[in-house]
């Protein structure tokens, strides 16, 4: 299984567009989350909150790169993080483009327990 995961991550890394900026977004707070675009439209989650270490709140448009399953997973985890402020950090791993810093292409979402 570990090998499969390694292969999966390597394949995913290779899939990152050359001009994209790989990054990990860590939301210290999730103030709001809105999901949309399911079905005929591309699945999107708009997460508003404060990124770790930053003062101002931002709204990030998180787009799933693997389909609706990841979209659903990310949406639920954002809601959990918002329901227990200070318990979880909502973490999104993916990439973005310099000319569209507010749009983030997620390859993985997760929750990190703070304490």
């Amino acid at each position: 299984v570990r090998h499969l995961l390694t292969l999966l991550l390597a394949t995913t890394a290779l899939a990152v567009p050359a001009t994209a900026l790989a990054d990990v977004l860590t939301f210290a707070t999730v103030d709001s989350t809105r999901a949309g675009g399911v079905g005929s439209n591309a699945p999107v989650i708009r997460v508003t909150g404060r990124l770790e270490g930053q003062e101002a709140a931002r709204t990030i448009e998180v787009r799933s790169t693997t389909g609706e399953a990841l979209h659903e997973q990310c949406n639920r985890q954002a809601i959990i993080a918002m329901s227990k402020p200070g318990r979880w950090h909502f973490v999104v791993e993916g990439y973005s483009y310099a000319d569209q810093p507010s749009r983030f292409y997620a390859r993985e979402c997760g929750l990190t327990r703070i304490d």
Partner: protein, 436 residues
Amino acid sequence: VIRAALLATVAAALLAACGDDAPTDPTTDGRTPDAAAPDARVDAGAPDATPDAGIDATPSADRDRDGVTNDLDCAPDDAVRWRTANIYVDGDRDGRGAGDPTEACIGAGPAPDRSEVGDDCDDGDAASYQVLGFTYRDGDGDGRFVVEAGTLCTGAALPAGYRDGDPGTEADCAPTDPSAYRLRTLYVDSDGDRIGVEPAVELCIGDTIPAGQATVAGDCNAIDIGRWQLLAYSHRDADGDSVTTAESGTICSGTTLPPGYRTTGNGLDCAPDDITRWRTVDLYADIDRDGIGAGPAIPTCMGDTRPDGLSDRGTDCAPDDITRWGMLPYHHVNRDGDRATIPETGSVCSGAAVLPPYYVAPIGHDCDDADGDRYRWVVLYPDTDGDGVGTTPYAVHCLGDDLPAGQSTRGYDIDDGDPAVIEDEEDDDELLDLLF
């Protein structure tokens, strides 16, 4: 016999009547051949043992029957002799005699050691019998002649070494030396390079040029076999570093110009007498010896190695600091010296890498880069009941290591007025439902 005598008489009469006009054969023995009768000597039958005294005694008779009448026969009674001739002693039996002749009665020819021909110039040598004149002489046998007139007792022709007429060859300059025969203008060639030096000398030589002599003059170096001619050059490489200077002239050479002299240029040697330096390069003073110089360019004559204290680059941004020499970009800075940076882009004079307070990658996110005690943004929730968990609304604070009292990083207290109550387990169940 009678008939023969009569015929002889008649013949003699006729001979007398005809005088000198009578035909004689000079190549024979001088006798008159019989016209009507065969010669008595060859006639058949032997001569009379006893001559006929009556008839044979007459002058016109031929007593010995040798074909010559008695009155003309110097030996009337000897059939093998009938004529008188001057005879010379022929000691070498070459057909020619020498000395004074003596008159003798002979027949067809003289005895083997006698000759009717005299004037043998060397009667002791059968190969030499006549004197021939010559006008050229090759006394030493080298095939070249000199004018020398004389005579020589010889055979049919002059022997080798004698010519009666111009042989058509150059006169022998050493008539008594067979190894020399021709005169040549030569020059002293001390070094053996076949080019001699003035003055010219005329030497009588043989087939080869003598050692130490040359047929051509003009050796520009009489004591060096490797140099004999002046060759032009247009460039010099005196120090042998293969880079030249423009300089023209001529130099005494061999087949080619000696080392250091060339007809084509190669660069411009800035140190013609120093093999370690040949090119001029703009260098810069490197005071701090960090490999990068600064200041105005200094044209420097050098070779493969740069002089100490100079660099071929003049971009040292800190000429007096060995740890810094080039501008490097940075994207973050930590001016207050705390544990976090703020974004800032620029370039700074650095060494191999940018040094603090400049950074390429961020360290945290300093909320106040002018205050070393605060370096982070922290989301805090007011914790009124002091149970360690606050509640919304939160606020973002610029903090250091410590949190202010009455604040918590956790904000999910369902009752912030009761320190005994923090979470609702039903909420967690809902959360599990949401996840699964």
